[in-house]
Amino acid sequence: MFKKLNITCKQAVAICDKSQYKEATFFEKTQLNIHFLCCKICTKYSKQNVFLTKLCRNKSNDDKKKQISLCMTQGEKEFLKKEIEKRYVKE
């Protein structure tokens, strides 16, 4: 039982990455937290990893906001409309 709770830094980092996407299991998260108690480096890594995730999420929200205003232009739509009409009549 105690052996299972003891993990290496590499395993800890892997779990930490997974938990950024909410894909770590409860047991894995427990292992990770116990590892944090005795490893300052991984604690630091984890904090920075969370920061990185937030930064990327901010970026993705930003992108989404920008995209809402983006559409095809009226001209492009007209062009596509004519193309479709042409092809549709042929069918």
């Binding site: 990455d17 990893n49 990185l52 990327c56 995209q67 596509l80 479709i84």
Partner: protein, 184 residues
């Protein structure tokens, strides 16, 4: 029984399909091409439309195939996004921080920094510097928030491959941020 009415497709669906595509490939010109392609394919296979689903659902299902095709294509162009799994068991340094750089102290890692425009630009340029396949997988998972199994299916990689790629992408991003931002 539903009937197709291609002359109204553009007015009714083009905005929706375009945004759907843009959110997934994040490239304006490319999205236009994919949407156009979708409409043309739909016209070609209009005979096969059975009226079981609505027009819109049917168009979206065609669009999805086109987007997957696009990802397949860049994936095969760049070589398969496959890397060796070597997380836990390599040589003497097994489970050690030695071979990777030990995380350095980041000053200023405060919440309010997240809003900093310059930092945002920095992370953008860091993501652009990643090797293409790392960037692709990392963006799909982190920014577009596509599920792991979907990405694995589309790119034909295993989930452990995916996690190794994500980890490497993160390691490089950390390095890039340390060099260009925190320790500047």
């Amino acid at each position: 029984m539903q009937k197709l009415d291609p002359n109204k497709w553009i007015d009714k669906y083009s905005d929706y399909l375009f945004k759907y595509t843009l959110a997934r490939v994040s490239d304006y010109e490319l999205s236009k091409d994919i949407v156009q392609d979708t409409f043309f394919s739909a016209l070609k296979s209009a005979k096969n439309f059975e009226g079981k689903a609505t027009e819109r659902t049917w168009l979206v299902s065609i669009l999805k195939r086109k987007i997957i095709d696009y990802y397949r294509k860049i994936n095969s162009k760049k070589g398969k996004a496959e890397v060796r799994m070597n997380f836990y068991n390599e040589g003497d340094n097994e489970g050690d921080w030695l071979e990777e750089r030990v995380p350095q102290t980041w000053d200023n890692m405060a919440e309010k920094q997240l809003e900093n425009k310059e930092l945002q630009n920095q992370i953008n340029s860091c993501i652009d510097k990643l090797p293409e396949k790392y960037a692709m997988v990392f963006k799909m998972r982190t920014i577009q928030e596509i599920d792991t199994d979907v990405i694995c299916n589309e790119l034909e990689i295993t989930s452990s491959n995916l996690w190794v790629i994500i980890h490497r992408a993160r390691t490089q991003l950390r390095r890039c941020l340390e060099d260009n931002w925190f320790n500047k």
